[in-house]
């Protein structure tokens, strides 16, 4: 995925329903994400998160209990968040037995705007690396150029 910023995962010793509650309930979110979370967990719902003295709007995108939850944030003030102007945070929960869950988070965004579709697809195929890999590669190319 061309706009992938970061992808991380963790294995949790708890059933998937418990992990789902922890990830999605605003009272719980305020313990692991923002200082204050005002959010209704349903697709399209607009909410607010407060980080210290900085606040930000969030919009819920996918709610598919207990396996998928996503929201968009970091979009320009006054604009509706869509692909291209915001970051998408996606949680994927996969049960591994009755009391174990694999939780994956991917943050992506700002990708592929103002491009004809065919060109987007071609470029996405060529550049499937994430941002971190992209930066690492640039650094490597640069180091090579400087030494040679």
């Amino acid at each position: 995925m061309a706009g992938l910023v970061i992808e991380r995962e963790v294995v949790i010793e708890a059933p998937v329903e418990v992990v789902w509650r922890t990830v999605t309930e605003p009272g719980q979110m305020s313990q692991w994400f923002a200082d204050r979370v005002e959010l209704v967990i349903e697709p399209g719902a607009h909410g607010h998160m407060q980080f210290g003295d900085q606040g930000g709007e969030v919009v819920v995108e996918t709610v598919d209990p207990p396996s998928r939850f996503s929201f968009r944030w970091n979009h320009p003030r006054g604009e509706e968040p869509v692909a291209g102007n915001s970051m998408l945070v996606e949680f994927t929960l996969t049960p591994e037995g009755d009391e174990r869950t694999r939780l994956r988070v991917a943050e992506s965004g700002h990708e592929l705007r103002d491009w004809p579709d065919a060109e987007k697809q071609r470029y996405a195929d060529e550049h499937s690396e994430g941002w971190a890999e992209y930066l690492e590669r640039l650094v490597a190319v640069l180091a090579k150029g400087q030494s040679g």
Binding site: I12, V19, R21, V23, T101, H110, L112, R113, L138, G145
Partner: protein
């Protein structure tokens, strides 16, 4: 780096056409807009726009040579970007670790109540 500077940086490198421009700058040292325009599938005008965004994000620097404007990579900024990316990963690791702690505690609590 401020949050806004980060945003500029991420949107600068997230766009595939800008990555292509940046790739060419990195692998060729110092280049002009018209040289770039001959090597990408978009217009000279689009190349100029991408160069402006990359410059605003601090990733490239311009220099005038005679009538030509040449662009080169700002290596320090690239290092900062790599570090910022590592920070972002660490931030999500911390959040996931907190989720793990909360969920496992909630699960223990559930089990205690059932017995």
């Amino acid at each position: 780096m401020t949050a806004q500077a980060d945003d500029e940086l991420w949107s600068a490198i997230a766009d595939p056409s800008r990555r292509r421009v940046l790739d060419l700058v990195v692998s060729n040292g110092e280049v002009s807009a018209s040289w770039l325009a001959g090597r990408v599938p978009f217009t000279r005008q689009a190349v100029s726009k991408h160069l402006v965004v990359l410059e605003q994000a601090g990733l490239i620097r311009r220099r005038k040579q005679g009538r030509e404007v040449l662009y080169r990579l700002e290596a320090d900024r690239l290092d900062q970007a790599t570090a910022a990316m590592a920070d972002l990963a660490a931030q999500w690791d911390r959040r996931l670790a907190t989720i793990k702690r909360l969920a496992e505690a909630a699960h223990e609590e559930d089990k205690r109540r059932q017995t």
